[in-house]
Symmetry: C2
Subunit: 223 residues, 2 copies
Amino acid sequence: MTTAGRPRLSTKKRPGETAREEILDAAAELFTTRGFTNTSTRMIAEAVGMRQASLYHHFANKDELLDALLSGTVDHPLAVAQSIRGSDARPEVKMYALALFDAGQLGRSTWNLGALYLLPELRNERFETFRAHRHALMDLYASIAAEVLDGTVGAVPGTEDLPFRLVETVVNGRADAESGRPSPAGDYARVVAEAAVRALGWTGSVAELHAEAVTFSEGILAW
Amino acid sequence: MTTAGRPRLSTKKRPGETAREEILDAAAELFTTRGFTNTSTRMIAEAVGMRQASLYHHFANKDELLDALLSGTVDHPLAVAQSIRGSDARPEVKMYALALFDAGQLGRSTWNLGALYLLPELRNERFETFRAHRHALMDLYASIAAEVLDGTVGAVPGTEDLPFRLVETVVNGRADAESGRPSPAGDYARVVAEAAVRALGWTGSVAELHAEAVTFSEGILAW
């Protein structure tokens, strides 16, 4: 474990290989359970078992922590979307594979950080990098969706944004589950990926598409 | 205009027929632009041009204000969903009509209050009434979706939650538009209503379904 700044006050309290990762994990827990504004850097430092001054060796302030956490939810899917976009698979295979991957990672992450996407605080220019990356991801989704629409008999015009929006509903489902709503039965990532292609007007066999997308993904992704 | 409590400090500053409505409008603006935790009841009173003590004649605290605002986003759709559910229209007409109505009202409301649905603060028991109404609305969506699945050749099992989730994406689209993302072209409520039935596996003519749902809605709703 690396220890920048002063020595840690106590033994390791949080998951994470480095002090930086432990801080991020503690911040993610507090932001998603107490709220961003209700959390102070002192609380985060206490949750890690570290002095507040040591925390500042890693992150200058709370906004920087939130930016790192939110960027973390977007940057991997963005890289994956770029690989998928550049491949020569059929458009519906690309769309399904991207939605399945992204919905899966949003569903599996330890903390439901996507619940913070709509915070009005994020309109601040300090989060411009995160916003730019998120918009780049939305554009990649829309451009793959446009390829599907081009190649589909019965395509529904104006639906380019739906696959991205459907994937984001994983966040709402998790937030509702955390406030007492039963989670949907079955594999929601798969339901979302299937709906993403159907919403565009694609009407082929999803069982075949799923198998094809999984093989395709194994070829180009490190799942 | 009714004036409970002390006289107002200044002339009317906000939209709304009553002091209560003006307070709600000011709170909605501040909660959705500054954030819930960053807003005090004093700021809300100032935005209305009213003493803080007068505001407390209408709402005991900030949580009560948020609960009233959020309940307002759910209670009308809930009444509409109950009427629709009890009607004898075909299931896909009911589903499309509900999604079109609800996506429309979420898109047209002055402030994008749905952006507050995911606040961790809402897990507090003080918001239990709002949560119960929201869950009742989700259940009505799911039960109408189940009717569609029952009557559809090629129905996709496990998709009962998607129509509600699709409608909620109106909130995300508005939030992204407020942070600099161009809004989707066209009528997003209609795109969502169409996707809601398609995601369930229904594959008929949506132009006909739209016309039928609009006529049906005029019959039972005050749009």
